[in-house]
Amino acid sequence: MKHTLSLAALVLVALAGTGLAAQNVAPIGGAATGASVTLLGVTNTAGRALLPDTGGMTSTDVDALQIPGQVAADALTSMTSGSQDQKKSGAQSVTQLENVNILNGLIQAGTLIAVASSSLSSAGATSNAFGSSLTNLVVNGVPIGSGDLTPAPNTRINLPGTGYVILNEQTVTGDGVSTSGIVVNLIHVVLQNPLTHLTTGEIMVGSVRSQVGS
């Protein structure tokens, strides 16, 4: 009887330890999307990779992306990966496209790379968009810089008669201690009615998300 009780106690301690360990593993999240277009409340998405809750890696390839009249691009690859244990957690998402053409040439880029990365360790939680860039970007017929360019976060350029575009749109979340996340939309076009300026739709190309902690 004494041995039975001791064994039961050991099992309980082991289970408690397992539960504690499970609680200490911070959740992670990630997603990478090549392009999405929302018109009349309907969203059309291409090249989306979603990170499972348990971590790992997923990827999606699209040789030729075509959302007629809205977005065209070649060689789309979206990847997201992540892992976690009691010491540290991380999630990172990447999407890249070649020969990007939005709204029949209104916005063009040679190569688009969007990167989001979040990590959690004993030093805290942090997120960034390092590595994101656009090559040979042209907006409304005007070259924006030259070669590989990373626009300042949340750069807005008006598109007369169409709306406006936000380049390198970044939204950071979390407390920086136990949670952190970032959403990056490298090109975010907001379509507006030219008379009322009411939003009629949006186009996002190069969207990535990563997060650690809940």
Binding site: S59, T80, V94, Q96, S117
Partner: protein
């Protein structure tokens, strides 16, 4: 080229990459000599400075080696094989073609080692499908040197891949993204 030859070539490339991964950091002032890596290829999972058993390594992001910007993502469990469970995709934007996709099909060796920067490196070899539809041998190395894994152009994490017949990025500081080893 038969399978045995491919494995021999892959092991040779792996040895070169491990040597590259373990080259002392020029910016380091640490006088400690670099670890020795003899017989690493013969003792997968347990070689490296101090002998590191297999571990899980996950990462993604971007490097900008001389051969052209490269993006990558991977998740490899170095405790699970051989063959080892895992996935890897690399997109190389340089060279003659506008880009080259490298998609891992099989991982048949995994080696752990220490990085002179103080972290840990995983090197794995396998077979990948590339953009032209062919299957080629590759060796990839990823090094986790702390959090976060990248600041623009300076790492500290590193990644590199060599693909037979296509070339090598060299083990290069991350421009973006992160690598985490879970031991």
């Amino acid at each position: 080229m038969n399978t045995g030859t491919l494995r021999y070539v892959g092991a040779g490339v792996a040895a070169l990459l491990i040597a590259a991964a373990c080259t002392p950091d020029n910016t380091s002032t640490n006088p400690t000599p670099p670890p020795r890596f003899s017989n690493c290829i013969d003792k997968p999972q347990t070689c490296g400075g101090g002998g590191i058993p297999g571990f899980r390594i996950t990462g993604g992001g971007r490097i900008d080696p001389a051969v052209g910007k490269t993006t990558f993502g991977f998740n490899v469990d170095g405790r699970s094989g051989p063959p080892f469970k895992g996935e890897m995709e690399v997109v190389y934007h340089g060279g003659v073609a506008p880009m080259t996709q490298i998609h891992s099909l099989e991982i048949d060796s995994f080696t752990g080692s220490t990085d002179p920067r103080g972290g840990v490196c995983g090197t794995w070899t396998g077979t990948a499908r590339v953009s032209d539809g062919s299957q080629r041998r590759y060796v990839a190395t990823a090094c986790d040197n702390g959090e976060p894994g990248s600041s623009p152009g300076t790492g500290p994490d590193r990644f590199g891949i060599t693909v037979d017949g296509l070339g090598s990025t060299g083990v290069t500081d991350l421009t973006g993204g992160n690598i985490q080893a879970h031991k």
